[in-house]
Each structure stands twice: as C-alpha cells, then as structure tokens.
Symmetry: C2
Subunit: 476 residues, 2 copies
C-alpha cells in the first residue's frame, strides 16, 4: 500500500512547484515573443460570424409545447427555462429566464514539467459570443455532450487525460459554480492533471508557465474567465527568504504576507464560513422552474426573450458560421446581457496583511443559496432610473476611486458558447488603510491564504470572485 | 480591530476544551444517577398516541389539485411531492415520492463552561414517530416555521441564542445534509454556541458533558440522530501524553492515532475529495419534481402512498395526540420506511492508524449529487427476491462479521417529526488487518482526522455517516 506524506507537506510541495512556475515569466519552451506570433496568427485565422435570427429559424432548437422551454431536440446541450426565485419567507418572489445545463463540465489543464518547470498546455479557443474570438483557454473545456459525440463534431483533443487520471497525477480536482445569475445550479469540474509522459502539442495548443499566464492577465480579452477560474484554485504559498524579489511595494509586501497561513486575519476561517452560512440560513432561496412562456415581467418576441424595460439580459437566436470549431455552421440561443458589467475586488492591508472584501450574496441559480462574490458585482445601468431601488454597496466608492489605487483593470468576456458580447470590467482596487473596516453584515474581510483554503472546496467563491483572485495573484 | 490567533491555534484550543469535556464522564452539575432519574421521569410523562388515518381526515393538509402534492394549507412545514431522478445520461430514470422542505433547520446546542468543563444543554424531546418517545436532543431543533409562529404553538426555548450569536461564541456553524433518500435537498444548520452568562435550565433541559453524552451513545433509542450529527462535527484532536488513559487496546490506540493530522493516511485529503468529485461528475444527477399523482411505480390509496410490492417506504396520514409539545393535537403526514434499516461503518488499522471505509454514493435528494455514506447503508429486504438486482457491497460481510469485531451496536430512529417507527441498526465494525485494502472505486479509506477536516465544510458526509462517526468517537 501507499501511505501518503502528511497533508501539509504534500500541499506545500505542489505549491512550491506552482510558485516556481509563477516566477518563470518567460520560457525556452514557448518564448514570449513566439507566443505573441502564434497567438496573433490564431486570432487572424479563427473567427465567427454571428447573425441574430428569429427563434423559428433555428435548426434543432424549439419551444417545448408543454413547458415553453427552449430546448434542443436531442435533449442535450442546455435549455432556456423559466425560474421563480423565492429569496426568503417575507420577500416577494421574482421570475426570470435561466440557462439549465445538467451536465457537469470539465475545465481542465494538462501540465507537464519541462526544463524543470511546470508548464500549462493552453488552447487558443474561439467561441461565437466573444468579440475578437480567440481566448487562451484550458486544455479541455467540454461537457459530456461534447466528448460523447452528441455535438456531432470532432473529438475533443486531450480529453482522455481527464476521464480517469491516476490520483498521484491530479494536482487539482474540485467542483466550482458557474455564473449563477444566469445558470441554474451549474457547476464545472476544475482539474489540473500532470502528465509524466511526452505529449504532442502544436496546432491550437502551446505550453506556457504560470508566470507567462499571469503576465498575460493584464491584457484585455486575452485569457478566458475559465482559465482564471482554474488558476485561482491552485495551491499557493508565501515566498521564502530571497524568493520575493526586490520590487517590494507596500501593497506587494502585504499581498505576499497574506499568502502565509500564519498571518493574522481579521476573522478566523470558521467565522468566515459561519458568515456565509448565516446568509444562506436567512434566505433559504426557493428555486422553481416555471413555464418559460409564463415568466412574469418577460416577453417572448420573434427574435428575443427580454424585458420591456430592456434591463438585465435578452435570450436571442443566433446563426453561427465558424472556421475553427468542431462543427462549421450551426444555430443556437445565446444570452446577451446588457453592457457595462463591473466586478471590483477591494483590498486593504490590515496590520500589514492584505485582506480582500467579499460579499456573501444570494444569486438566482446558486446550488446552495449564496456564495462569496467580489466587493462589487453589478451592471450599473440595471440600477439607474429606479427611484427607491437600492444602489449596490460600494459601487460609487469603486467608481470614485483615484486611478493610482487601481492595481489591475482588465476587460474579459463571459463564456462565448453561451453569452453574446458579454464584456465585463474587472478591477482590483487597493482602497488604503483609511477605508473603514466596519462593513455591512454580508461583507467580510478575508486574507488570501484563507481564500485559498476555501478554494480547496466547492461553492465558496463565485466565478467572478475566482477570476479576480487569479488577477490578484498576478500582482505578486 | 481584533486580529485572531492563527487558525490552527484557535481550532486546537476549541478541540482541547471539547476533549476535556469528553474525558469528564460524570459531572457534579448533572450527576449520572440524577440524569437517569430525570430522563426516566421524562419518558414516563411525555408521550404520543399516533393513529393512522385516511388522508381525507387530515386537518390543514390536502392534495394540490394541479400537482397532486400533499401540502399544508399555510404553504409552510413541508410537502410530499413526486421526484424523477435521472442518475446519468445512460441509465433509466426512477421516480419516488419525496419530502420537500425548503427551510434550513437549526440543530443547535448551547454550551456553557460549568465547574471548568464545557457542558451541553440537552433537551428531552418527544416526537410522534419515535417509539418510546423521548430522545436526548439538541437544545434547539427548529425550522423557521417553528420559531416564527406558523406552527401556532408555544415559542421555542433558547432559540434566541442561535439567531445572531456573537462570532467569538460560535464554536460550530455549518450546513449539513438531511436524509437525502427521502428529503429533496434538505439541510440543517449545525450550531454550537457558547454562553458566557448564566442560563436557566430545568424542565425538559439539563446540562451534560460530552463524556456523559458519549457514555449514553451505547444505549438504544436514547440520543437522537440529530444530537449525534452535531457532535460528529466538533473539532477533535489527538490526546497528549498522559491524557489517553491506560485501557490501550490495539483498536483504541489506532483510533487515537487516527485523530492526529500528521498520521499517515492511505490517501491525501485532496485525493479523497477528488474521489467524491469523480462520482458526482460521473452521475450528474438530474432531479425534477413531478406531479405526485403520476409517480411511476407508486399508488395513492386512501390511507397511504406506497408501492404495490411494499418496498422502500409509505407515506401515511397520522393523527397525533401529545402531552408535551407545542400543540397538543394535530394531524400530519409521516414517512414510514420498511423496517430493518442497517448502517455499518467498517474500520481497519493501516500501519497502526485507524481508517474508516466510506462510499461516495448518489442519493435521490442530494443537493450536489453524492456524499460519502457509511460502508453499508441499506434496508436488506428491499434487495431480496429480486433476481439480477445488485446486492449492496459489503452487506454480507457486515452480517457475517463475528461478534467480537463489532465495537458498537446501537438502534436509533430517524427524526420522529417526519418518520414513523423508522428504526435503524448502527454498527461500528473493526474488520481487522486481513480485510482487503483494495475496494471498489467508489469506496475510500479515510482517517478520522481527515473526516474531521471534511466535517468543517458542508455536504461531504451524509447523516448516517455523521451518526456513525459520533459513535466512533464514543469509543475513544
């Protein structure tokens, strides 16, 4: 039998290898300049033309006569259904369309030690809903429908590495939530699997270190949110003597200190969990699928399902013509949110240890009522022109923050296989030590080491929070 | 501001206080002999008469004309609905009635340091479905309907301690699942809150140490499963030099060693989680509520909803007359499982460290597809007389195990407010070092320290597994 080393030693070892990869910001395997050429070429060659069409012209998709749900005739992929949300015993319910996809997707990176450093096999992946098309994506991003051939297309490269990996080669494996404002209880399996044998790359795939990936995080529309979400879950550790380098700003020193599990935190981890639990118990969200045709406040037109006031999002029919995808031409529904989405993570040093400000918040489609999300997560226009409508906490503070407090600002799009032109602005803002520590009850200051402990488990941080945590790590 | 001590120190401190309470097997606060008198008196005085009645004679309950669901006219409490379960893409779905209760219940103990030792405020609580009526239950066991008065009864004593406890007094707070074979996505908040002020006890409440509670665990029908479930989640630690006492059997030595986080485990904790994740990803259970009147394989008679073959369970109408409950007379549906339920936890020393054998298993109503359950969890008669029907793994091994391998055998009932005469036999069986380490893929050997880490989070171990872990700790 195999008895493993103590837990901490094993986690430390994985964290040490990822930290080495993170410090490697260029690589002989795929030098940065060669990556740029390769990526520019992918951007030129891959692309989609997306045309909005009436639902009646979609092929294989239609409205179920009983439930009104918009479904594919195979019963697979996803469906658009109606959702009634009852946030707690006292508040009125609301209704909205929601994407329902029962299958648990795979977001997986193959990693391999090359020249002594872990490299990630990344994919230049184009999706119809993403302007500019190609994003740096995980090695495999697939649902069972994809790799069992329901998609009726080509097989998924490298998927075999994720179907039954030997345990000792699995560096990360847990479930994390999808975008719960739009998906009902959707989650993805986040996997990082190490290969000890040679793997062919080339084509749409190349090898990058974690340092190279983090270097790219500061650029708009370059990495997919899925890439960020997986990278956020990797084990982290505080740098040892001499590793931290010399560019020691106060912000960076506090960030590195925050990676240390022994650093003083404002709240103990069980208390952080307890605060999320309290929000769950308070709201006990009821979720009922209802006929899509009867969703209150929404209308079904020939070309879209939307609200008369134009808020939130529309579901549209789309015809897609592709150059670099399994199937070269198809139709499908896409969800088109109103533009201007904003997610901001506030950071603040507390006694020299960087803390991030998270909000425990109900989302319509959450598997378990609520998760932690960033300090600010909203689309401001949804809240404008509505007298008496509550203004999101800290939105005005985020918008008024002087530019030198913004440590990172990057634009990214939601997953382009489901969302159309869904661009969001992501901000990491170091709010400074004058910022009040006392915050509304649903908000919690958490160290980065605590975040990493939570990310070893499922459903603590939502997709947007994970994305911002990945961006924060790029500021090491 | 308050900066907390490092995580580990804080958890160690709580574990140390609970360990002291566990070593205190008698107490001047409620001496064992006085507890026995008190409890015998409660048993004599409290009681219910439960009469099965036709559904049509229930008051306030009826079948919804649209969905066929059995509901209370207030819309609260719980309902009985139909559930269609689609275990994966390839298997046929099955249907069954299911209990739906959206509210998150509270299972909470108030604890208080008395004579230098933590004592738990326990309640002698009677429930209609439990033969012999009174069980030692948490201080508060309530849903929002209870304590907001929908129940139309008396207020819930001590509930105020759990509504907004100060964080530093919260020793345990997380969500754990209910019985997922019968409940749809039901979970309870497990809370232990310390009071630093005097609290009146008396009546149906008294103070017991953890050692006294564990002493009582070996007796049939004395503690409620809810009590065991909460106690299982308490922080544990390996005893220090001199604390372990002298009754050092090999089993006990291996058990104590297994509490040590540094003890060698067969699998690392991320691998344990990965094995559960793999089962979730494989099955991706689809759960749809369907009209109760159309549930395939079940029939609605005047007095019960059941299967023609009599397997699994029946939903029955009940008239309850009580002497010691908020409301003295009422009617309600109860779920009556077929008798003979058996849950067995296999333990085995691996290199001197006790491991328990858990199975990652789909249950119909799981919030997230699957949780770990005990080695064996079934009602044998459900599997008899069905040629070709798979026999549960390890059931025959459990039934054939010689008596000297059984470390604990106790009978307990499911929660008597929902279940009628639902007695189960719980067994902790030390299978010995000849027992094979290689087990089917869904089974995993886990140390007790690893179990305790998992129980800091939600939805890893199911109700029956938590109950057995509590019984295992009583064997220290």
């Amino acid at each position: 039998m195999r008895s493993s080393a103590p837990e901490t030693a094993s986690r430390e070892e994985a964290a040490r290898r990822f930290a080495l990869s993170a410090r490697t910001t260029d690589s002989t395997v795929t030098p940065n300049h060669r990556f740029e050429q390769w990526f520019a070429q992918k951007r030129r060659r891959a692309g989609f033309v997306v045309t909005r069409i009436p639902f009646s012209r979609m092929s294989g998709w239609g409205f179920d006569p009983d439930t009104g749900a918009l479904t594919h005739r195979s019963g697979r992929f996803f469906s658009v259904e109606g959702l009634r949300v009852q946030p707690d015993g006292d508040s009125p319910p609301w209704e909205q369309p929601v994407l329902v996809q029962r299958e648990i997707g795979i977001l997986g990176f193959v990693v391999r030690e090359l020249a002594g450093v872990l490299h990630f096999l990344v994919q230049a992946k184009a999706e119809p809903g993403n302007p500019g098309a190609v994003r740096i994506s995980p090695t495999v991003q697939a649902t069972r429908s994809n790799y069992t051939g329901v998609h009726n297309g080509r097989s998924i490269p490298y998927v075999e590495y994720f179907l039954a990996p030997p345990p000792e080669q699995v560096l990360l494996d847990n479930l994390q939530s999808e975008r719960s404002a739009w998906f009902l209880r959707k989650r993805n399996r986040h996997l990082v699997v190490e290969s000890t044998a040679d793997i062919p790359s080339g084509g749409d795939f190349c090898w990058l270190t974690l340092g190279q990936l983090r270097r790219l995080m500061s650029r708009d529309h370059l990495l997919s949110m899925e890439t960020c979400s997986v990278l956020a879950c990797l084990p982290e550790r505080a740098p040892e003597e001499g590793e931290a380098g010399h560019r020691q700003s106060r912000f960076r020193a506090a960030l590195l200190k925050s990676l240390d599990e022994q650093a003083a935190s404002r709240h103990r981890l069980p208390e952080v969990i307890s605060r999320l639990t309290a929000v769950k118990a308070l709201h006990e969200v009821g979720q009922r699928t209802v006929p899509l045709s009867e969703v209150a406040g929404w209308q079904r037109l020939d070309e879209e399902i939307s609200r008369p006031d134009g808020r939130y999002f529309a579901v549209v029919g789309a015809e897609v013509t592709a150059r670099s995808r399994e199937v070269a031409h198809w139709t499908q529904p896409l969800l088109a949110p109103v533009p201007g989405g904003l997610s901001a993570l506030f950071t603040r040093s507390i006694d020299g240890v960087l803390h991030v400000l998270l909000e425990a918040r109900v989302e319509a489609g959450s598997l378990d009522v609520a998760e932690f999300r960033p300090t600010v997560q909203c689309t401001p226009s949804n809240h404008e022109g509505r007298p008496g409508w509550p203004r999101p906490h800290f939105l005005d503070a985020a918008l008024a923050m002087p530019g030198d407090r913004v440590r990172c600002e990057v634009r990214m799009c939601e997953e382009g296989a489901r969302f159309l032109d869904a661009e969001n602005r992501y901000l990491v803002i170091d709010v400074g030590e004058d910022f009040p520590l006392d915050v509304p009850p649903a908000f919690t200051w958490v160290t980065v080491a605590q975040v990493q402990r939570l990310l070893e488990h499922s459903y603590y941080l939502n997709m947007q929070a994970r994305t911002l945590i990945a961006l924060l790590h790029a500021l090491h």
